[in-house]
Subunit: 490 residues, 2 copies
């Protein structure tokens, strides 16, 4: 994956890094939508790729041209999966490299707005949207992150953030820009993280809040404390709770909170820590550090606007508006999606969909996450996509999926369901059975992390015009206790 | 000067920072050549500006439009010079600012190749050449320096490098990019440098080798040692001698050696310190650290080429070629100088004029500085310009000026002279008298730092085709003892 971040653009191609936690159905959609010419897949995930290819071929109705299939061998995997892949006509990555021309001239982009990468994001609409990034933005973001994070020559970067996640926030390219060292893990565990810090000189890593949880809650025998040096951690999306931040700090990690989207090459705003915050109580520190902050130096314009009147909200810390971006580190657009592009770029800004206030010191703070997104384990889940699948369940009349706070994953999907006539959820037994059936159905149709962890039955609250009042559902979801798998809404 | 680096481009204008050590004649040339519309001058240098304006007006033969004249008041200066400036029609800087429109909209460049700054360099030809820099290059260089030097948020930068010197190598803009702090000194002294480090938290500064000399040779009472923290020092041009590097290191300074030209926005190559050098003897370290190194991340191409055959020299550490640059951090060109531009950009590269070898690890190393440049106290002196002036001396038939190693200034000009008939330098008394007369003559015609510190009499060695063999003169200059003001060439 790391090499592909160089080799693919240098060959003049566009890289589409795919989340291996997606199901075959979704991957088939991505491959078809992007018209993939070549697929490189780790042997561990070969069957998933094979299944996706089959679905893609089936969907293409005879109009299918099989892509070049390359399998990446890994000694730590069962040799059977490699043998299987080779038997299915895949070429091994190292063998594939041998077919290359050693005198091949690097194809530099003819135009710096040329596409370098494509990444599918779970948006607020039913189908994943293909975020197209250009060379110019990737270059500038690669230079920006080391500057805002103070990464110098000699930095040792640990890959806890997946490279498929928005090209690892462009750190795939930053590490080369600073002549740093990349440490890759086959699997992210607390033990592996602590071990890399202790033995491989790790100075920096990026992590979703769920990874921070794992680190602070690791059993003592997996940790190596005190840390041999301050380790800088960049986190984004949902701000970690105060308790986690405090625990990280006690262990010697310095957590920097950032915010951005795939559409902005990953984080493009940062909550710059002010020296005067050092003296505040840890709860206040956590509250301030949870702000989305100030724009990266490479982001030309960031604002919070009243979209109805298309003007910036006052910097009063209370007036809510939408976060909008403009500049070099904003995507080219969504692939083959003029409607989404027209909406996203209305009035010359990229609209994040996130609602925020602006403080008097210029820091922005998200007040209401883009309403249809659930961030679980650092990955975006489109509640609309989950809903669309759930609507195929025979018992479901109406469904609304919202984020439920989750101690481990940050958020998890919670489904609110109205049943079709003939189905009842009047007693706990019926509710348990239906909830289990809905989850089982979900597991067969969507990635595991999309599956609702709880199902609530009852009539959905609606506005006068018939719109579901999701904020009431979110309030209910918040009240539910941690391991409650089903409930009713009165 | 610092504010002008922002205000002038934001007003849509081009900044030309002028070295106040130049004489009025040269400044008059620059002002006329650049067609300056406004002049901002510190009250200390008002008389110099006035004199230059007068010469410019005289040279213009009635075609002169007086520029807006702004005087910058400084409390540490004699109040008389301010009163004098105001009496001559200059407006005080703060008063000038008050005339501004607080609602003036920042004029962003319409095109990023638009000019941001102009800086005159003593080139290898008789007239100073106006190096035109563009917004794009300045932006990228501003982001590059913090990356290659590991400057993060919170860096405190001391201005020992003059801002008029190639826009302070773009650190004027880097400091804003990293939200750093600038410390300015009215006058650079060892005491002021140590005091700023001790009292103002200085973490980084750039300095010509002469400043390093001043720092290591400061009297004990001016120093504050040990340093409260490692202080990073970037130096460029002539590599500091091993003794100075070792002394800097002992005091806690970490010296990074870089190389570049005004035409490349200041340093654009860096001698990256390799960890394995730590264990080498200090003489070897100094020799390796004196290399010109590797390109900055923002420089697309750096090479050493055989200009005759227009191909790169082998990386063998012995084959000499010319250092050439290509990329974003290369100037637009010389202002109104098509001939110089055609020469400088021959074959699609910027030609530095510096001769170097390429080592097997990719580091380049200058073997013969661009033959006509003398670097004294960090400032370039064109030997040709000095020669052109000396040719006006009544006794001089032929003159060649070369660099002489100088313990304090790095290099100083040394003039080799053949006398006109009627003049003799046969005995020491005649030589002393003539040398003194030539120096006196020079002081009246050129900036003090251009004045030859030594004059050597005798027939100039020439090639068969009549070209002066400067390398033989340089050998002779090297042999001369430190305070020798005159000699003969046999």
């Amino acid at each position: 994956m790391f090499e592909a971040h160089y080799g693919v653009p240098m060959a003049g191609a566009v890289l589409n890094a795919v989340n291996f936690r997606l199901n075959a159905q979704t991957i088939a959609f991505l491959l078809g939508h992007s018209e993939a010419n070549a697929i490189m897949v780790d042997q561990e995930f070969f069957s998933l790729a094979e299944e996706a290819l089959k679905i893609w071929a089936d969907n293409s109705k005879g109009n299918f041209k099989a892509p070049l299939l390359i399998v990446i061998a890994d000694k730590s995997c069962d040799s059977k999966s490699l043998q299987y892949a080779l038997s299915k006509g895949a070429i091994e990555y190292d063998k594939f490299l041998e077919t290359g021309n050693p005198n091949f001239a690097w194809k530099r982009p003819q135009d710096e707005w040329q596409s370098i990468a494509l990444g599918y994001t779970s948006g607020t609409t039913a189908s994943p949207k293909g975020v197209v990034l250009h060379h110019r933005g990737a270059y500038l973001m690669a230079l920006n992150s080391p500057i805002v994070w103070g990464m110098g020559e000699g930095a040792v970067y640990l890959w806890t953030l997946p490279m498929f996640h928005c090209n690892g926030w462009c750190f795939t390219w930053s590490i080369a820009a600073i002549c740093g060292t990349s440490i890759c893990l086959r699997k992210v565990t607390a033990k592996a993280v602590y071990s890399a810090i202790a033995n491989l000189g790790v100075t920096h890593f990026c992590a979703a809040p769920v990874v921070l949880n794992t680190i602070v809650n690791a059993p003592k025998e997996d940790t190596i404390l005190p840390l041999p040096r301050v380790v800088h951690v960049m986190t984004a999306g949902a701000a970690p709770p105060p308790s986690v931040l405090a625990a990280m700090s006690q262990r010697g990690f310095r957590v920097t909170h950032t915010y951005g989207l795939s559409e902005t090459y990953g984080p493009s705003t940062i909550c710059v820590w002010k020296p005067e915050w050092d003296l505040l109580p840890s709860e206040t520190q956590a509250r301030l550090n949870a702000r989305q902050g100030v724009p990266y130096v490479g982001l030309e314009s960031l604002d919070v606007v009243d979209t109805q009147h298309n003007k910036p909200v006052p910097a009063d810390g209370t007036t809510v508006g939408e976060i909008v971006f403009r500049g070099n580190v904003v995507m080219k657009g969504y692939l083959r999606n003029p409607k989404a592009n027209a909406e996203a770029f209305a009035n010359g800004y990229f609209h994040s969909g996130d609602l925020a206030v602006k403080h008097s010191d210029g820091y922005i703070e998200i007040k209401d996450r883009s309403k249809d997104i659930i961030i679980s384990g650092g990955e975006n889940i489109s509640s609309v996509e989950v809903e669309n699948i759930l609507y195929h369940h025979p018992a479901i009349l109406e469904v609304s999926v919202v984020a439920r706070p989750d101690e481990h994953w940050g958020e998890s999907p919670c489904a609110f369901v109205t049943l079709k006539s003939g189905y009842t959820a009047d007693n706990p037994d019926q509710r348990r059975q239906l909830a289990e059936d809905i989850m089982k159905f979900s597991r067969s149709k969507m990635p595991a992390y999309w599956v609702p962890k709880s199902v609530v039955f009852g009539p959905l609250p609606k506005t006068a015009t018939g719109k579901i009042q999701k904020h009431l559902l979110r309030d209910k979801a918040k009240e539910m206790c941690e391991y409650q798998a089903y409930d009713t809404l009165k």
